[in-house]
Symmetry: C2
Subunit: 358 residues, 2 copies
């Protein structure tokens, strides 16, 4: 952990410090679109087997870094590690997504839950963080992450993925205090979990609020944003002599970026349905922005992919505070060659002939 960080563009951009060019990483960059990932997965036997084995998690985390000159690594893990540690019987059925054998439906179910001890119940994650830091050897910073309390709760209450979120919304309307108790517990668990990741070497952290966008504006503030604010507020601010920036990403939260920016986070993730220029206007320089190329642009012919990438870069505009990313995770059917084109386009923007930022 004492190795010097050779590329700190991500950390500087997240803190709105000047950078010679814009950093880029991709959500799900360590994923199924890479043949080396598929090979490791076949060897490991399954998704949970990969997540819970620090050597394999480290190997997968580094795969995209070894292949592309990306500006950050993100830990290979899952947003459901916390409920997995709560012993709800998590399984990933092939092609089906996550399922919990024992979903959380009642006050009694919530009573049974406790805050997992990261050093014990989630040791495999913490070990993976330390291992990745050692293997990265200062090449790029490592991002740790967790699901937002609301998003993790949706899986726990629904018992898996959902289209209508009927179970958790029923709880929200019928027993809002129970749901608040669950979210409070998840916020506490997320705080110790992310701080343990930071202590083990994560140099930035991100909260994924994948399902905040299924809420009404008032519900979003009460059941999702409030608990993310609690987490952000309690995060370790500095480690190894550097500030540890945090990123909050609500998919479908484009209308609420101003409110998200106000919780005290360093950066806000923006999905592809929101115009980056409007989002930047809305946050009035309070936070950095991360995003937001349509993930499907990676299917485009190279010249179109380049044009779309340049449009995102230009829509943010000049000045500090932009981390390039997709607006959502990269999909399994993407050709890795397209990622090379994307990374190259972003990393050459603003250099040479084009106007300089800073």
């Amino acid at each position: 952990m004492s190795s010097i960080l050779k590329n700190d563009l991500l950390l500087r951009a997240l803190l709105r410090e000047p950078t010679p060019r814009r950093p880029i990483w991709l959500m799900r960059q360590a994923g199924r679109y890479l043949p080396e990932y598929r090979a490791t997965r076949a060897r490991a036997g399954g998704f949970l087997q990969m997540c819970t084995n620090p050597d394999i998690a480290c190997e997968i985390t580094l795969q995209p870094i070894d292949r592309f000159p990306l500006d950050a690594a993100i830990l290979f893990s899952d947003i459901l590690t916390i409920p997995h540690a709560m012993d709800l019987g998590l399984e990933f059925e092939a092609g089906e997504g996550p399922k919990f054998e024992r979903p959380v439906r009642s006050a009694a179910d919530i009573d049974k839950l406790g805050v997992p001890d990261p050093g014990h119940d989630l040791k495999y994650v913490i070990d993976a963080v330390a291992l990745v830091r050692r293997e990265l050897n200062g090449r790029v910073p490592l991002i740790g992450f967790a699901g937002s309390p609301w998003t993790v709760a949706t899986y726990m209450v629904e018992g898996g993925g959902s289209k209508t979120f009927g179970q958790i919304k029923r709880m929200m309307y019928e027993a809002p205090r129970d749901l608040h108790r669950l979210l409070e517990l998840l916020a506490k668990a997320t705080i110790v979990y992310l701080n343990a990741q930071i202590a083990a070497g994560a140099q930035a952290v991100m909260l994924f609020d994948t399902w905040g966008g299924v809420l009404t504006p008032l519900q979003y503030e009460e059941f999702s944003l409030r608990y993310m604010a609690e987490v952000v507020d309690a995060l370790t601010r500095e480690a190894g002599g550097r500030r540890v920036p945090n990123i909050v990403f609500t998919k479908g939260g484009g209308a609420w970026v101003k409110k998200i920016a106000a919780i005290g986070c360093d950066a806000v993730g923006i999905d592809w349905t929101t115009d980056l220029a409007s989002a930047r206007h809305a946050v009035e320089g309070r936070v950095a922005l991360q995003g937001n190329l349509d993930p499907a642009a990676l299917f485009a012919p190279p010249e179109t992919l380049r044009a779309e990438t340049l449009r995102v870069l230009a829509s943010y505009g000049e000045g500090v505070g932009h981390v390039f990313n997709l607006g959502h995770g990269i999909t399994p059917d993407v050709d890795p060659e397209q990622v090379a084109i994307l990374v190259d386009t972003v990393q050459n923007y603003g250099l040479g002939g084009q106007p300089k930022e800073g």
Copy 2:
């Protein structure tokens, strides 16, 4: 069709004319939450069998009208009737959603498609409209509908529902001209289809753009809104001596209401993720708004359901131009008693003790 319309609140509210109280109808009001619907379905054998049989479609359309004092009927049908008429092999597998045996993936696939003749290929819909009008006998107006060209195209290209819309987005980036050809064809088909519904007796029409919200802002304008504008522009404006109002609803389109209002439609549907007050502010009185109670509020205890309903009514505020609805379709697991409470709450708002609108 010459019967006098006894309750024209919907038509007046959609045209921003004063009404003594706000009208209410519910998306999917003729649906699985009603035991009488489930009984009819069991008898008919399946979803397509119900849609394609005018007697059954009429019976189902009237079920919620017979049970609740709703202010409008909406034809029981499906947004996939047009591609069904294009002979793509539509099937509804139980619990699986729609599937097309022959999805549209190439220029050659598009070449094979023609505009269905509503009087022939979609005669069952047109017959159902006429039958419902006769059976309604002027109780409330009948709303006809179609899917938006973009939304219908997603099903045709993906071959069914989708989470990532990878196939149609691939076409959008790789062969945008082909996709435009398909959308243009669908716009033409939708125009003749909706105008045939109007000629048969539909007193208002609605475009359901269920998947416009998966697009970037620029893609939305180019691939969805543009074709809805084309449809709206070509709709029959008057029938039976009355103006036929139209409603455009893009789920997830909250950020774009101002742009939607500018295409010349009479009303814009608003989903539950957007605040109705902000939407009203954005459209500056150009259109009426329809929405937007969280469908899950129907799971709440009666007092909470009433409070949530009043909050939606109050968030629109005073004055003309609000049609109460859910922000999305009613779900199958709702207790019909809850719908009675909702309808009662809306219909008593602004009467008696509360401030009058107009």
